[in-house]
Symmetry: C2
Subunit: 478 residues, 2 copies
């Protein structure tokens, strides 16, 4: 009994001191990672190179291929232990010539008493408006598509719409994002359905085209593109995004003159699939233990829409991913688990890169315990969302306190990134970095998503946050 008692005392003293020590070590490591990120950060200059020398990089474009080569080199410069490409067959949609559109009011006597006071009365009978083809849309006929317009102000009203109201017409989905929602991502979900599903919904009732209000909270002339779907059993109709100011104008004119027509020209086309790549870098574990067979993967998506520069979406997440590797290596961290860093190809219109990565991970029997994504903009990080088991949630609570001094405070949201969702389906715990959300949708999928919209420190803080989470999971597992 006495011996046993002594053992117990020694053991608990050790574990207590071990715990205390590790807490200090972790805090010190956080400080080192933060200092490295803020004093010697490379993510901002790397993002400038990506944005200003390559620019936007839609899957299948020559720019996307140049971005593969560029980020491979960036990984090597960041001192990755190894870098390799994963071949991915990807879709290839092209926009073609710039789209045009106009609103045409019926001919009438503008001097008549009926016209007095109407919005357009003092103006003109044609209004040009900015549109962008939605990604994946078919083109309009060569002579353009022209038709009268049915406006849907609230998607909830759609179920009441009858075929005869819509048939042969252009459906105009005009539900705004809800400005009184606090986190803008929560406002995105309900509004984006009209973009992704609008063409199917409208064509099912016989519509000939679809116009979608840009999914943004900004009030300006920039149309925002994004992915849309067709259903093979339903007619494909041309789908475009209209700017929020254009949408408001169209709505106003429709209220005064329901017989107006909308005419648009789009030149987009879906070409045969082509080959592209994920770019994968590794920091190897030198520990001789079970843990080294566990993988932690972190990434962003390298492709972007074909307008703007894909700076926040998702050049920022890609550069932060490369930077997380650089920081961890620069401070001399020796990982207990195998760390992967991935530039996923084709998040925007296919997710083929994420799917291929997960497929290969499974095939190669790589035990991915965690997937981390940065794809919500290069703004100051507020926290992480995640989808993990209840037991993992408890363990994570011991991690989050280290992040609080660095401004990360929100660990209550659910969700992981799109590119790592195929891993989630295989049982991997997934995380997404949640930056301050107010500005994201101002720039999202439009001409405004350019390098000058990114703040250096905010971007660097995000890179630190990724590195810090990778460190904690690498040290303690999940």
């Amino acid at each position: 009994m006495k011996i046993k008692y002594i053992f117990l005392v020694v053991f608990s003293a050790c574990s207590f001191s071990g715990f205390a020590q590790s807490k200090i070590e972790d805090s010190l490591m956080f400080r080192k990672l933060y200092a490295e990120a803020m004093l010697k950060g490379k993510s901002y200059e790397n993002l400038e190179i990506l944005c200003n020398t390559i620019g936007n990089r839609l899957t299948g474009s020559p720019q996307a291929e140049r971005a593969v080569e560029l980020t491979k080199k960036m990984f090597l410069d960041a001192k990755a232990d190894s870098v390799f490409l994963q071949a991915v067959k990807v879709p290839h949609w092209v926009r073609g010539k710039k789209e045009t559109a106009k609103i045409i009011l019926p001919k009438q006597d503008l001097t008549s008493p009926a016209a007095a006071g109407k919005y357009y009365q003092a103006k003109r009978t044609e209004f040009s408006t900015e549109i962008l083809a939605l990604g994946g849309s078919i083109a309009t006929p060569e002579q353009g598509l022209r038709g009268s317009v049915v406006e849907i102000k609230n998607l909830k009203d759609w179920d009441k719409i009858k075929k005869q109201q819509v048939e042969g017409k252009i459906v105009f989905f005009n539900q705004p994002m809800d400005a009184k929602t606090i986190n803008t991502f929560d406002a995105y979900g309900p509004a984006v359905k009209q973009r992704s599903m609008g063409a199917i919904m409208a064509a099912r009732l016989g519509a000939i085209g679809v116009i979608v209000r840009s999914v943004t909270l900004a009030n300006d002339d920039n149309p925002h593109t994004g992915a849309m779907r067709y259903n093979d059993s339903i007619a494909k109709i041309p789908a475009c995004a209209i700017s929020t100011k254009g949408a408001d104008l169209l709505s106003k004119l429709l209220a005064e003159e329901p017989a107006l027509e909308f005419e648009y020209f789009m030149y987009c086309n879906t070409l045969p699939d082509v080959m592209s790549n994920n770019v994968v870098a590794e920091l190897k574990s030198n520990f001789n233990s079970e843990s080294k067979t566990e993988y932690i993967v972190t990434g962003g998506h390298l492709d972007s829409w074909d307008v703007g520069q894909g700076a926040h979406d998702d050049g920022a997440g890609c550069m932060q991913t490369i930077e997380a590797l650089r920081i961890l290596k620069a401070v001399g961290y020796v990982p207990k688990r195998t760390l992967r860093f991935v530039m996923f190809m084709n998040e925007e219109n296919g997710l083929r890169g994420g799917e291929e990565y997960a497929k290969l991970a499974k095939k190669n029997n790589e035990n991915h315990i965690a997937g981390i994504e940065s794809d919500a903009g290069g703004f100051a990080p507020d926290g992480f969302s995640f989808e993990v088991s209840e037991k993992q949630k408890e363990k994570l609570k011991t991690f989050w306190k280290y992040f609080i001094p660095y401004g990360l405070h929100d660990f209550n949201r659910e969700g992981g990134g799109a590119d790592i969702s195929p891993l989630k389906a295989q049982g991997t715990a997934v995380f997404e970095m949640m930056p301050e959300s107010q500005r994201y949708f101002d720039y999202h999928h439009c001409e405004l998503d350019t390098f000058d919209k990114v703040n250096k420190r905010e971007l660097e803080q995000g890179a630190f946050a990724l590195a810090a989470l990778i460190y904690m999971i690498s040290e303690y597992g999940l």
Copy 2:
């Protein structure tokens, strides 16, 4: 005993239901205030008017006076119960013609072996650099001020500097803000001393001029001005800010060629004091109770530096103040206490408006229980800092939980705004809104502080936060 028992039960039931009810009412009021701010907000368009029609507005300038008239009208449009001006005698410093400066390397044989490899060797022997006179500085002599340069890289080294090292020279204070500090306001404090005190420190040891590294974390060509002090018993010497890129260049050249000289021309001048105004609006309390004799004052400062547009500093805080009044009125809130909303004049170079307000409050025997300021930029609000009694701190803990769902989470910082510091000295509890801090000093006191740097939703969220805090203090006191 029985009767007493019944009373107790009834009393506690009432107080419990009263508590529960008030919690729901408060949550609902927060929602109403938020919806009003985000759906019908006026602060963004008001800020555009202030910035784009008036622009910057240094105390004493015609623009400052136009801003007084403009914001008086804005208060009336926001449905203030009353608006009045408080006369304030203010300083009147003018910049005059644009400053110029150059770094001059000594003449030498650039083909000599000694010059090989030096930074300037392949370049030239004169480098123009961007400067701004610091606010309050005297001009240089008409023929400019030229002298050799002593660089101080760290203010901690100053105590070791001897008179003979500095006498007859120009002191170049070149301590950067510390980029690894998390909240940028914490990095500002240690670095700003060289700007405010540099001229006194240098002149005390016989220096003829002073150059100060711009107090910003950005690396660019924009010099940042700001207030500086003289001491009447020590010689006044011309003081300028140099851009961070200019400072780095000067430092590099000094390392190669310590004998270089700096020459600058400044045309600034301090004119006699003039009269200006604080703009004060009121929402009266209709409650017949003691509480209506308690005042809650909220404000920003209307003056700005004379470069850029004073958008974040502090047009944002002013427009949020007016908007807080508008929101509270628009949702039909009837205040339990008297609410004041103030455009303080002369925060940047004198604080005379804040001092005058406090003086009049005391003279008129107005019991100011709380002063709230917004003067840290129109970015997404993170929380409030405050200086209150321990008892008040406990009470405030019951307030903060209502703010959490709106993204405000940080209630751990100490401090109130500058304009309300004279009230604090009279015993008033003071608060300052703390927005996300990363971008603030990029724009602060320089040409970049313009309307386009402000995000609509972030600005509006700040106005909501002010209104919500005013509401809570108005309802429950401190």
